[in-house]
């Protein structure tokens, strides 16, 4: 190598280095200042973009295309993470809040667009982006023990409705703007597309993926790739009917919601790749659009003020009105508000698509970025206070099948134990972990044995971790009750006969029905018997 070959870094490898450096450094720096990492990614995207240091040029296709995949992934995970049980339990309240949290900000968006003299499609898109919301503050409330609180559950359930309605508006507006047929034909195509998405997404796809995972899902890579293929398949299917791919991605998330339990290993992998690569790349790709020369103008800041007022005011009105009708207290109204006010995923999606189809210009995009920054910071700060205002909910139990723990001997769980775990977990969309106990005489099972157990679980449609504990059943179970907090335990040892505190235990026998031992104050024995029947 001669000095003549030394040159300034350039090309795709350098661009990826720059991109992932931002993904690494941006959130680290901003979380140190107690600000959401998302803002670090947005500002990092600006720093490396054409309006910043120019390390990623305006003509770069790679980052925006990878970002588009990230957008699909983001909407997919939003559908996947939604707790459908909560939606069912608080359905009526969620529908009420969902309709109000959609219609009031949507109307505020229409009014704002009309006042600004925008075209009707642009007004509708503004309404759609203001009416959606992202559950960014949900982890704060969940970690404080309010995941099952009626107000929190209502807001989580309402998210399904608001986001679906916002995506319906997006699909119709984008379809009519980009289609080449008559408006009636295009709306007809979109309506047909939604029917196909619902039928495929809620009926055919879950069954097909379940069958595939039972057959081939023993391999972790295969499980993950099947999930990604399902996501892309639904996105392409949506696009075939002139509906934006993110709508299909969201439906794919809903379709696989039960098959990928929120705390199972498959979800961990989905979230890992989403958090490490896809979603940050999407946010950075949005940051590339950030232009201070545009953002810091009076026109953009004025626009940002209007849409911030419409979003914050619209969501406040919706939560207050819902709270009045549902009889919630002020802290509970505030809890709904901090969950429904943050604008991120769907807002970015709608904005980006509005930009791509020529309904929004760079002023609007930059104003929406201001909106996102304002709502996220505001909600994050308020959420920390809300968890102190809400009364504690000691004694709240998770659903029976939310987290099933199977305690098995060194050879792995029996078929009847796995069958019982499947029947308990499936109705609640829960997952099952297996704890293999072993004595010093048995020796720890090797990795091949553990993989074989994982594959057997997979064939039964279960998605769970397999762990070992070198002690007897009683000690291992006592430790797990403290650390894993299962909702129900299945002991694959007919000799076990200890009554634990606060959790139902099923003792699987070689023949006959399992023996249930626990203090049945909540009447769970009947529910267990019904599921196992």
């Amino acid at each position: 190598m001669t000095l003549a070959t030394i040159q300034a870094p350039h090309g795709p490898v350098f661009e990826f280095l720059v991109l992932f450096s931002v993904i690494l450094i941006g959130p680290v720096v901003f979380t140190r200042f107690r600000l959401p990492g998302l803002i670090g990614l947005l500002l990092g995207g600006f720093a490396i973009g054409p309006h910043g240091l120019g390390l990623i040029g305006a003509g770069n296709h790679t980052v925006p295309e990878l970002g588009h995949l990230g957008l699909l992934y983001l909407m997919f995970v939003a559908g996947l993470e939604l707790d459908l049980l909560v939606l069912r339990a608080y359905g009526r309240a969620a529908v009420l809040l969902g309709l109000l949290a959609f219609s009031i900000p949507f109307s505020a968006g229409l009014a704002s667009g009309w006042a600004l003299g925008w075209s009707l499609p642009a007004m509708c898109l503004l309404g759609a982006l203001l009416s959606s919301h992202t559950l960014i503050t949900y982890p704060t409330l969940r970690n404080a023990g309010f995941g099952g609180h009626p107000a929190v559950a209502t807001a989580v359930g309402a998210t399904v409705l608001t986001d679906v309605l916002a995506l319906v508006v997006l699909a119709v507006v984008a379809g009519t703007q980009t289609g080449s047929g008559s408006p009636a034909l295009i709306v007809g195509e979109i309506a047909l597309g939604f029917v196909v998405l619902v039928v495929v997404g809620l009926l055919a796809l879950p069954r097909a993926v379940d069958a595939f995972l039972r057959q081939f899902g023993g391999d972790r890579v295969t499980r993950y790739v099947v999930i990604v293929v399902a996501l892309l398949l639904m996105s392409v299917l949506a696009e075939v009917f002139g509906i934006e791919g993110i709508v299909g991605a969201f439906f794919a998330g809903l379709a696989l919601n039960r098959l990928v339990p929120n705390e199972g290993p498959s979800m961990e992998r989905v979230e890992f790749f989403g958090a490490a690569v896809f979603v940050p790349v999407f946010v950075v790709s949005i940051g590339l659009l950030l232009d201070p020369a545009v953002m810091l103008t009076g026109e953009t800041l004025g626009l940002a003020a209007i849409i911030c007022a419409a979003a914050l005011g619209g969501k406040a009105a919706a939560c207050w009105l819902s709270g009045r009708i549902l009889g919630f207290s002020r802290p509970e109204n505030a809890a709904m508000y901090v969950l429904t006010v943050p604008q991120a995923a769907a807002t970015l999606a709608v904005t980006l698509i509005g930009f791509e189809i020529g309904l929004f210009g760079t002023h609007v995009v930059n104003a929406v970025l201001v909106l996102i920054l304002v709502t996220i910071v505001f909600a994050a700060v308020l959420a920390e206070r809300v968890v102190k205002w809400l009364p504690s909910r000691a004694g709240h139990r998770p659903p029976l099948g939310a987290k099933v723990l199977v305690v098995a001997p060194v050879g792995g769980p029996s078929e009847s134990a796995i069958r019982a775990a499947t029947r308990l977990a499936r109705p609640d969309g829960g997952h099952s972990d297996v704890l293999i106990t072993c004595t010093p005489q048995d020796g720890r099972p090797d990795s091949a044995t553990l993989r074989a157990v994982e594959q057997r679980l997979s064939r039964h449609g279960l998605d769970g971790h397999v762990r070992t504990d070198a002690s007897d059943v009683g000690d291992a179970l006592a430790r797990s009750l403290l650390t894993a907090d299962p909702s129900v335990v299945i002991v694959d040892d007919p000799a076990y006969n200890t009554t634990p505190i606060g959790v139902p235990v099923l003792v699987v026998r070689e023949s006959g029905s399992p023996r249930v031992i626990f203090d049945d104050r909540d009447g769970l024995a009947a529910e267990i018997a019904r599921r196992l029947a």
Binding site: G11, A58, G59, N60, H61, R92, V95, L96, L99, F102, S103, F106, G113, L116, W118, S119, L120, P121, A122, M123, C124, L126, A128, L165, V168, V169, V172, V173, A174, G175, T176, Q177, T178, G179, S180, P183, V187, E299, L303, G354, F355, E356, I357, G358, L359, F360, G361, T362, H363, V364
Partner: protein, 270 residues
């Protein structure tokens, strides 16, 4: 809240959106175009005629002619006025009073000092235009050809550094002279923006064909006078024309083959 109420509310929202979305000819959010000539979009272009891009007298046919008309329509303007301006002047920002230049322009850092570029309307990797009777399927065969290059072209370094012909290329001043050299048979190969090469091959199939494209991320974009107040609205409407399929239809009609149909030859990046 009953199911019926929920369903009615959803349908009302969708119906309202449909009604709104169907009125398509208004300008987008915050968009307004300030035209130099009332009611007209004044367009500067360098090459007249440019096969596939600007054809006819007056030049109303071709990909970029169609794009200009569609853009004017989107901007609410009644007509397009075309002014011919030398390419060197366009990239120096001298548009002779035109609102916009649409002239197979590739944005470069140097050119950005003099003009504002719009969002790209067409992907434009380097395309290899060959005389009929010769062909090339890899970089070694490209090296054996006799090349002509234009000193004004941004693609000349690609020929000299990435293709590295066995013989020194013939150097001319501009594209017109390069095409003359190619027609006369003094050279066999010319590197052009792929859409330009496709337009030429479609217009003169008895003389030329496009043998390959090279890897590259170049695009074609319109240019506006530096600091033009129309940057945002032009960007927005170009994205709208891409999204609604207008650009694809124009490219398919006037340029014939699409980039996906042209073989890719990988070269060493300089």
């Amino acid at each position: 809240m009953s199911r019926a109420t929920s369903a009615v509310a959803c349908l009302a929202a969708v119906a309202l959106t449909c009604c709104c979305a169907c009125s398509a000819k208004e300008s987008a959010a915050g968009a307004s175009f300030k035209s130099a000539t009332p009611g007209a979009l004044r367009v500067a272009t360098a090459f007249l005629p440019a096969p596939g891009f600007w054809e006819g007298r007056p030049p109303t046919r071709g990909f970029e002619a169609g794009l200009a008309i569609a853009l004017a329509h989107k901007l609410g303007l009644e007509r397009v006025e075309v002014v011919q301006v030398p390419f060197a002047q366009i990239v120096q920002g001298k548009l002779r009073g035109a609102d916009i230049a649409i002239s197979q322009l590739t944005p470069t850092d140097e050119r950005k000092k003099h003009v504002d570029f719009s969002d790209a309307y067409l992907s434009s990797p380097p395309g290899v235009l060959l005389r009929n009777g010769v062909n090339a399927i890899d970089v070694h065969e490209l090296q054996r050809l006799r090349w002509v290059v234009s000193s004004a072209s941004t693609l000349t370094p690609t020929v000299t550094h990435r293709i590295r012909p066995d013989r020194d290329p013939i150097v001319v001043v501009d594209r017109s002279q390069a095409l003359r050299v190619l027609r006369e048979g003094r050279a066999e190969a010319l590197l052009l923006d792929l859409p330009v090469a496709l337009g030429l091959a479609r217009a003169q199939p008895q003389l030329f064909h496009v043998a390959a494209q090279l890897d590259g991320e170049e695009d074609l974009a319109a240019a506006l006078p530096r600091g033009s107040p129309n940057d945002e609205v032009v960007d927005t409407e170009i994205r709208a024309l891409i999204a609604d399929g207008t650009v694809s239809r124009l490219a398919s009609h006037w340029l014939g083959k699409s980039a996906e149909e042209i073989p890719l030859i990988l070269t060493e990046q300089s």
